[in-house]
């Protein structure tokens, strides 16, 4: 019980970010469903540019980790199928609100049946935020650098 409370206390920032994450996930899902990709891409940032791969100071790193954590778990609690692109877009918006520059990558690979699979992932500085686990097997087709909200 005490250990559980301790864990909740340590991850309190993650819990505090849940409503904001839910909001951004809803907005991004709506944008993907109802807007053309051209309009969507305008909000993703500067095309084919990357933000700097610099180390972040500790307070910002803590923010980043909390956002990454909330974006790993929040998609499991929303009533719609949430995929890599809306998660990456929502995380990018949360970071932009905190003036943290980030780069969203879109990549593809072939699976064993030779079908094309697409994936989206996000990086801030030297740190991967969301979608990074399968990212190493994907080839980057596009990247968008966003510097602020």
């Amino acid at each position: 019980m005490i250990r559980r409370l301790g864990r909740i206390w340590r991850h309190r920032k993650t819990l505090l970010y849940c409503p904001e994450a839910l909001w951004h996930l809803s907005v991004c899902k709506g944008l993907i469903l109802f807007k053309s990709f051209t309009h969507l891409a305008e909000g993703l940032g500067v095309a084919q540019c990357e933000t700097l791969k610099e180390a972040l100071p500790t307070p910002l790193l803590i923010e980043l980790q909390a956002i990454g954590r909330v974006m790993r778990y929040m998609p499991h609690f929303v009533p719609w199928p949430s995929k890599c692109l809306d998660t990456a877009m929502a995380a990018q918006r949360m970071l932009a609100r905190r003036q943290l520059p980030s780069t969203l990558y879109l990549g593809v690979r072939r699976n064993s049946a030779h079908a094309l699979l697409a994936h989206a992932w996000l990086r801030t500085g030297q740190h991967w935020v969301v979608g990074y686990q399968p990212a190493h097997s994907f080839h980057v087709v596009a990247c968008y650098a966003r510097y602020s909200a």
Partner: protein, 99 residues
């Protein structure tokens, strides 16, 4: 459903590719993304070769000549193979044709 064959007017046009900055090479293939639609296209090595030829504007007849010579196929077969591909590229504005 758009016709898979090119129109007579298109067969007398020059084709050139529009700048597509969203592309990645995977093995022998080229994967491109059409930013307007968000669709991905996988180009096999032959399609990739045609895409590279279109870096410079070429007339349709020139394309047929180059491909029939390089791949040693007859022009009817070549035409049947490349016209649907050119039609898709035109639809997604990855190439343009001009007189």
């Amino acid at each position: 459903m758009p016709s898979e064959e090119l129109s007579v007017l298109q067969r007398e046009s020059r084709f050139s590719r529009n700048e597509c900055v969203f592309a990645a090479e995977i093995d022998q293939e080229l994967v491109m993304m059409d930013e307007a639609s968000g669709y991905y296209f996988g180009l096999n090595p032959i399609a990739k070769h045609l895409w590279e030829i279109l870096a410079e504007p070429h007339a349709y007849a020139e394309l047929l000549t180059v491909l029939t010579t390089f791949y040693e196929v007859d022009s009817d077969q070549c035409r049947a193979d490349i016209e649907p591909f050119l039609q898709v590229l035109l639809t997604h504005k990855l190439i343009s044709c001009s007189a």
